[in-house]
């Protein structure tokens, strides 16, 4: 499952992938809007769900074969 909006943060380290995600989600304030985040920093596995908890979103993680983490992040509450 992916969103049409893809944020590619591969090659960057936390907090940058989370910042990129936050910027993309800031443009999508309505409930149900989503973004796909690609990242390869293992810290994102923990930090993306933590960010979602702080910002009223949920995330679903898929680990792709090439050491890439793909998150589908969806807004649950209006920002």
């Amino acid at each position: 499952m992916t969103s049409d909006v893809v944020v590619d943060a591969r090659g960057t380290l936390c907090p940058q992938p989370v910042i990129d995600l936050a910027r993309a989600m800031a443009e999508r304030p309505s409930i149900g809007e989503s973004v796909t985040l690609l990242a390869d920093d293992p810290a994102t596995v923990h930090d993306v769900p933590a960010w979602c908890r702080m910002r009223g979103c949920t995330s679903a993680l898929t680990e792709l074969n090439d050491d890439t983490y793909q998150f589908l992040v969806t807004r649950n509450s209006a920002s």
Binding site: L13, C14, P15, V18, I19, A22, R23, A26, D41, P42, A43, V45, H46, D47, P49, A50, W51, R53, M54
Partner: protein, 367 residues
């Protein structure tokens, strides 16, 4: 320490006068440490580091239950030396490691442990109980103190030894009483490096992993006598001063916690009350931990970061990950016993503008 050099240089296993004198010095230092831990001297072994104490504890516990196929049970927030030593054993055919999770505050759940142990023992092929359960006294990153009394009740009724890594709490918090095997490290309470403590209660299922002929079962060779004396003296001092130092540090860390929590999108990590007095950890959203460490260092405030960015080669902090909190932007502050109120006031003043400036630079304000 000088007495250690004057009287403690000889081989203590020899019967000549110098050897006997060295043995007396060692025995005296061990007896003083044992008294502070409220154990018998023969339950205490001096080893060369806290890490070595942990390894010897784990190898000996696994050796004593080597016929058990039940897993070693290790909390997810243990110091990496506890996790690594347990996992290393599985490579040599020992049973697997089962992780005991923690909640958002970093606390293990005793009832989860009880369920896990009763499930293991209810299995049709259940052999001997697990070799040990490892739950630390105080966490090295968050300061969260585990409910060892309730954990010990469960391990005792399941006949499983409880290993407590007390490295973070000895000399700072009440000496743990609920344990079967305990490990500690002198430099953590302000003593010398090179002295680890391994305490094994009489009757506990522990077997020396590599027995040394002619020496007692727990011997780790001849200790560094001057360092051992310094370890005993520094623990005595820490215990003497604890009643005054601890409330003071607790009030100071309460202030730091309140300041950090007042900054937007900063999460103070670890249990607010069940905690060691000297440690504070918080995570700042959108901020690199080493950026804060660097900014504070420039105004002569030394703090640590357990964040992923500060230690890329090690990956994110396994403790913060286990708690489900942000692993980036993490700042860990450990207050020494002699920290001044003025230094803490300076930190409290500096923190909010430092975090705000880093966020402004990165353009993350309002995200």
């Amino acid at each position: 320490m000088l007495a250690g050099l004057d009287d403690g240089w000889a081989d203590p296993s020899r019967l000549h006068r110098e050897g006997r004198r060295a043995q007396l010095v060692i025995n005296d230092a061990k007896a003083r440490i044992a008294a502070l831990l409220d154990i018998r001297t023969d339950e205490l072994t001096i080893v060369r580091s806290g890490t070595h104490a942990v390894r010897t504890a784990i190898e000996g516990l696994a050796q004593a239950r080597r016929r058990s196929s039940a897993p070693m049970i290790v909390s997810t927030v243990e110091h990496s030396c506890v996790i690594d030593a347990s996992e290393a054993l599985t490579l040599n055919g020992a049973s697997a490691v089962r992780h005991l999770g923690v909640d958002r505050d970093g606390l293990v759940d005793p009832s989860e442990l009880a369920t896990l142990l009763s499930d293991l023992m209810a299995r049709a092929d259940a052999g001997p109980p697990p070799p040990f359960v490892a739950v630390q006294s105080v966490n090295q990153e968050t300061g969260t103190a585990q409910p060892l009394d309730r954990v010990a009740e469960i391990t005792r009724s399941a006949d499983v030894p409880l290993l407590v890594d007390a490295s973070q709490s000895l000399g700072r918090e009440d000496v743990p009483v609920h344990w079967d095997v305990m490990a500690g490290s002198a430099h953590k309470w302000g003593g010398p490096a090179g002295i680890g403590l391994l305490a094994i209660r009489t009757g506990v299922r522990w077997r020396a992993p590599t027995p040394v002929r002619g020496l007692d079962r727990t011997s780790d060779g001849f200790p560094d006598v001057p360092a051992l004396l310094a370890a005993a003296a520094s623990l005595e001092q820490a215990e003497r001063e604890r009643a005054v130092v601890r409330p003071r540090l607790l009030a100071l860390t309460d202030q730091i916690r309140a300041t950090a929590a007042s900054i937007p999108d900063v999460e103070v990590v670890g249990h607010p009350t069940q905690r060691a007095a000297h440690l504070v950890t918080f995570s700042c959203l959108y901020v690199a931990g080493d950026a804060i460490v660097g900014a504070l260092d420039r105004i002569d405030l030394s703090v640590a970061s357990g964040s992923a960015c500060a230690s890329v080669q090690h990956g994110p902090s396994h403790v913060l990950a286990a708690m489900g909190v942000l692993t980036h932007g993490n700042v860990r502050i450990g207050l020494p016993a002699d920290v001044t109120d003025a230094d803490v006031a300076r930190l409290i003043d500096a923190l909010p503008p430092v975090v705000a400036a880093i966020r402004a630079d990165a353009g993350t304000v309002g995200l």
